[in-house]
Symmetry: C2
């Protein structure tokens, strides 16, 4: 049946570019009406959407079972099937996340700053929605609801393009969301799921400069790399999370061990996981730190001086310093002082999250000042690199680009600003 | 001689891409050292650069005379020769502008916000330089100094690519700047003039994603359009300034006339000049307003109802509503109320500056809220769309994109931020 629907869609719209551009134009018109709604009305509509998600549990889980069966038949990896799978508890979590976003403070309309000029003109910058956000994602169907909720909370239209392996789940989630949002007065075109799995539709989204205002890719490195390479629309993303922890000479040995173990091993597959440990040559417990990691099951790839500490250390190759393992594997280098650590990080960091462990405040401040990454930390695990942990309530993603927004991006990053100028008839001399 | 120098440059660097990438890498390394300088040191270096500009007046004016002679020989338009020409007074103005930028408050290191989480982690966002800014500009040699000063003040490296018609002037200005900046301790590679006029060098700058962090085009529409079409690097710019003024039914007739005349005719060639006037059908002085514009030498192209007001009105074609005249020409439409004005602006505005004239506060607030342009004004001339008039002290340009910065962009727009996280050994549960 889906096959048929999909073929019909394609035959009705032979040109994915025309399809995507048409959807984006409709989204833009809907976004204007969404932005004109009150903050309370947008929040209330999101609550209705969350209610509908729960009320539609049977349909969503049935659709999800269809995706899982197709995935198993296609031999999808177990990890991917797990990311795809929904149950009552996960669905309740998705609805709860939508409610949490609905209850976040609305950034739209916030005044950033005000000033008045001698001629009496009064200036203020206020936050406004960006417009239409394209989200391109892979197997996790929860992104359909999360991303839509964040966009709507900040007054943006969302064009969602999920992965083909989750197509039935995404349609069912989107249908439930759309029903709730419509009950709450949100125009239907404000949250759209691209109705074709044709890969050319992704290319059309990336090319839709002027129609889509920002693209957020959510998924593996190959997806992000493709989006970054091809997009004509601004992209908010991170490609790599090559996160460093530098254990300074003046680090507390117990703290260094706790932080290193947590930063590497709490969850190895997240972008904030430590991938390289730099140990100062003057740190007295280097051998104990390396042994603790190996004892906990971490493969350690070290330079010559690290290998001299423990026979279990594997020689690191030049590539290791630029590798995001996303696994229980760690590259470890010994460095001669803070400058050498800063130099290593400047050369190899992906600009995501880098941390120092030290009880020397001056060294910490230099590190926090000079390391040029989206997130710099002192005496904390890099696994805290997450919008929720930052108190943002949620995140649309983590950005390592340099413009607009960096690090965890939540509602504020989904807004821009405009200048409002109030006069009393001023003309320019 | 220049021919020879230029040929030598080309033969030494047959590949503009390799040349530009090498310069950008050197700029990035220099930018790290620039960012480590104190705010006072960067300001002092800019004062030395301004001193050197004045001390090098003879050399700069001689170089400028060479450009002017070449331009005349090539038959450059008078307006272009005027933009190119320098004299003692203009040069003093350039030096004064550099000093003014040096004395602006430094955005680098400013704390945007702070928070603390229940687990004791302390978060703050602080402003940091963007990195390496590419500036691609046309005939005005003052851009060499203005753009370099703004970049350096905010801790950024600048890669400058001026127009071929100003090549000698730009080299002489850059040489003076570089001398002063070096005296002040700024690394030489932090402000570089691309040493070839090969057009492929521009293409290489636009393609240098990861090496150049942002491109600012300064010049005519064709330059901006090319940069926006080809850039793989984020661009801060505006393509068009199709600015509207809406004279509401409740506008004061005298104020409406003053603002319209100023917005259109004070200077017709700037991006903030009004290009379309919308007159409410219920505004009682429509005929007087149109007549005043025509009496002052403005060509008015109107719709049917405007033409009925004055026999001198020329019929507007559909294209007129999307045309930036940059001349004493104006399209004028009669609209039925605020909603019709908002609809016209949503369809035709380039998102630069749009204004309402009214004494009805509720109508003004709706206009300021709903018009989705970088700058929205009430009872003021759109010719105020300028960083200096906004109190920013200077501007690198005016942006009509939706991300990062909108409207007049000065020092703050040349920064990004990073998250500093301070802990006491926290690990993530």
């Amino acid at each position: 049946m889906t096959q048929t629907a999909s073929v019909q869609t394609l035959s009705e719209t032979p040109d994915p570019e025309a399809l995507v551009n048409g959807l984006a134009r409709a989204a833009r018109a809907a976004q204007r009406r969404l932005a004109a709604m009150s903050s309370e009305a947008r929040a209330a509509a999101l609550h209705k959407a969350a209610d509908r998600l729960e009320a539609s549990a049977d349909a969503i889980l049935e659709a999800n079972a269809e995706d899982l069966a197709a995935g198993e038949a296609r031999g999808l990896a177990k990890a991917m099937l797990d990311r795809l799978a929904l149950d009552e508890a996960r669905l309740a979590g998705i609805a709860a996340a939508v409610r949490a976003v609905a209850d976040l403070p609305d950034p739209v309309g916030q005044v950033i700053d005000r000033s008045e000029r001698p001629n009496g003109l009064a200036f203020q910058r206020i936050r406004v929605p960006i417009g239409t956000i394209g989200i391109i994602y892979e197997s996790r169907p929860n992104v359909t609801a999360d991303a839509a909720a964040l966009c709507v909370r900040a007054g943006n239209a969302a064009l969602l393009r999920g992965g083909s392996e989750a197509v039935h789940s995404n349609r069912a989630i989107h249908a439930a969301l759309a029903e709730g949002l419509a009950e709450g007065g949100v125009p239907a075109e404000a949250v759209q799921l691209i109705p074709t799995q044709d890969r050319a539709a992704v290319g059309a989204m990336l090319a839709a400069a002027g129609l889509i205002d920002m693209i957020v890719p959510r998924g593996g490195k190959s997806l992000v790399a493709r989006v970054q390479a091809d997009a004509r629309v601004p992209v908010l993303a991170h490609l790599d999370g090559i996160c460093h922890t530098y254990v300074h000479a003046a680090a507390d040995a117990g703290m260094a061990r706790d932080i290193a173990l947590n930063a590497k091993l709490r969850r190895t597959g997240i972008c904030g996981a430590m991938e390289t440990l730099l140990i100062d040559a003057d740190f007295p417990d280097a051998a104990g730190l390396v042994a603790a990691l190996i004892d906990k099951g971490c493969e350690v790839r070290g330079d010559e001086r690290i290998r001299a500490l423990d026979a279990r250390v594997i020689p690191a190759s030049a590539n290791d310093w630029d590798t995001e393992y996303l696994d229980a594997v760690l590259s470890v280098a010994m460095v001669d002082g803070l400058d050498a650590a800063l130099e290593h990080i400047a050369r190899h960091s992906s600009g995501h999250t880098d941390a120092i462990v030290t009880s020397d405040e001056a060294a910490a401040e230099r590190f926090l000042g000079e390391v040029d990454s989206a997130i710099v930390m002192h005496n904390a695990s890099s696994q805290f690199a997450d919008g929720g942990e930052f108190g943002l309530g949620a995140e649309i993603g983590i950005a390592t680009g340099r413009l607009h927004a960096r690090g965890p991006v939540a509602l504020e990053g989904l807004t821009t600003y405009k200048w409002q100028v109030r006069g009393t008839g001023q003309t320019r001399p």
